[in-house]
Symmetry: C2
Amino acid sequence: MRQLYHLPISPASRKARLVLAEKNLAFELVEERDWERRHEFLALNPAGEVPVLIEEDGTVVSGGMPIAEFLEEIEPSPRLLPETPADRAEARRLVDWFDRKFAAEVSDGLIFEKVTRRFLSAAEGGGAPDMAIVRAALHNLRYHLDYICYLMEDRRWLAGESMTLADVTAAAHLSCLDYVGDVPWGQYVGAKDWYVRIKSRPGFRPILADHVPGMPPPKLYANLDF
Amino acid sequence: MRQLYHLPISPASRKARLVLAEKNLAFELVEERDWERRHEFLALNPAGEVPVLIEEDGTVVSGGMPIAEFLEEIEPSPRLLPETPADRAEARRLVDWFDRKFAAEVSDGLIFEKVTRRFLSAAEGGGAPDMAIVRAALHNLRYHLDYICYLMEDRRWLAGESMTLADVTAAAHLSCLDYVGDVPWGQYVGAKDWYVRIKSRPGFRPILADHVPGMPPPKLYANLDF
C-alpha cells in the first residue's frame, strides 16, 4: 500500500494526509522523527523532512506541495485546484502564503518551541519553549486570522467558491496550532466558520484523532462545536 | 503589455523573468521596492512581495512559484515541467528545496544583509551587514553546491535529462549570490559546468545586464567564461 512518512504536528504532513483523504486514496502512515536524521530516511529525501510519499510502484515524492500537486495529477477527482489558470494561480498564491509567510511568521516558530523541543536533547536545542518567540508568533497569528476573515467576507472558501489546496493548506497549519491550544477562534468569527466547515469533513477525522505522547490536545481540539 | 513587478536581486523575481524568457513571452519590467509597502502594490499583492505578474486581461498572479505554474499552464511550450507526474514531482521537489531550504539557509539572509539593508533607514533595520549571518550563509552555501555537484554526477540538468523549473529556480537564487560575488564556483566543478550552461541561455542575458545603483556586480558576474 501507498505509504506516507509523516509527523502528527507537521503542517506539510497534514496537507498530504488531507489531500489523500479528500481524494479517497488509501494510505498507511509511518511516523518519522525527522530530527533524528535516520540514514534510510535521508536516502529517501535528502532534505531530511517529512512528508515523503511512497507510491506502490516505488515512486518517491517529497514535500507538502510537490505531494499535493502530484496527487492532483494522478487523481484529478475531486479536484483541489480550480479549472482556469487564473483561478489556480489564486489558490496557489494562498498555498504559498500559508506555506511561506504564515510558516515563517507563525507556525514554524510555535511548533518548534511548543512541540519539537520536547523531543530534543539539551544539546540538540531541547528544553522549555522560548516564550519571546511564542509571543511573537501569537501576535502575528492575529493578522493572519484577520486576513482569513477578510477573504471570507465575499468568498465561500479561501480561494473562491470551491474548496481548494488553499483551504487544505491553511487548515493543515491552523489545526497544528489548534492542537497546542493557541488559536483564539472566538474573536475571529469568519475564520471560525470556515474552520468549522473544513474540520467537519470526513477526511479531517484522523487528524482530530492525533495524539502526541505526553502532550494531549485541549478538549476543544477534536470538538466540531468549539 | 504584460507587466512584471520585480526587484533585480530577488530570486523569485528572477525565476519569473527566466520562465517568461524561456517561453518567449513579451513583458515589461516594473521595479517595486516592496519594503516601502506602497499602498497600490499591497492592493495587488497583500503579501507585499515581488514578483507580481499582471496579464494584459488584468489577471494578477503573485509569487514566484504561482507565476511559474501559471505560465506553464498558459504557455506549455517549451515545457519547463517534465511529462510524467513522477518526473514533475522530482522537479517540484528541487524547486521546493531551493525556494524553502536554500532560501532559509543561504539566500534570504545573504540578500537581506548585503543588498536590502543598503536601501533601508536605520529605523527600518538598514546599515552594515551582520557578518555573523553572512558567514553562516556562506558556510551553508557549500553544502548546497556539493548537492548540485552530486546531482550532476548522473544527470544533465538538476531534475533529469531536460532543463526544468528546478534549474530555473536554482539559477535564480545562485545568480543573485553571484551578483554580490559570493559563489566559490572554482571549487565546485559540476555546479559550475551546470551554471555555465544555464547562464549561456539567451533568456539569461537581461539578468546578466542587471545593475543595482551604487552596487556594481563583480567583473565575472556577466562573464560566460568565469
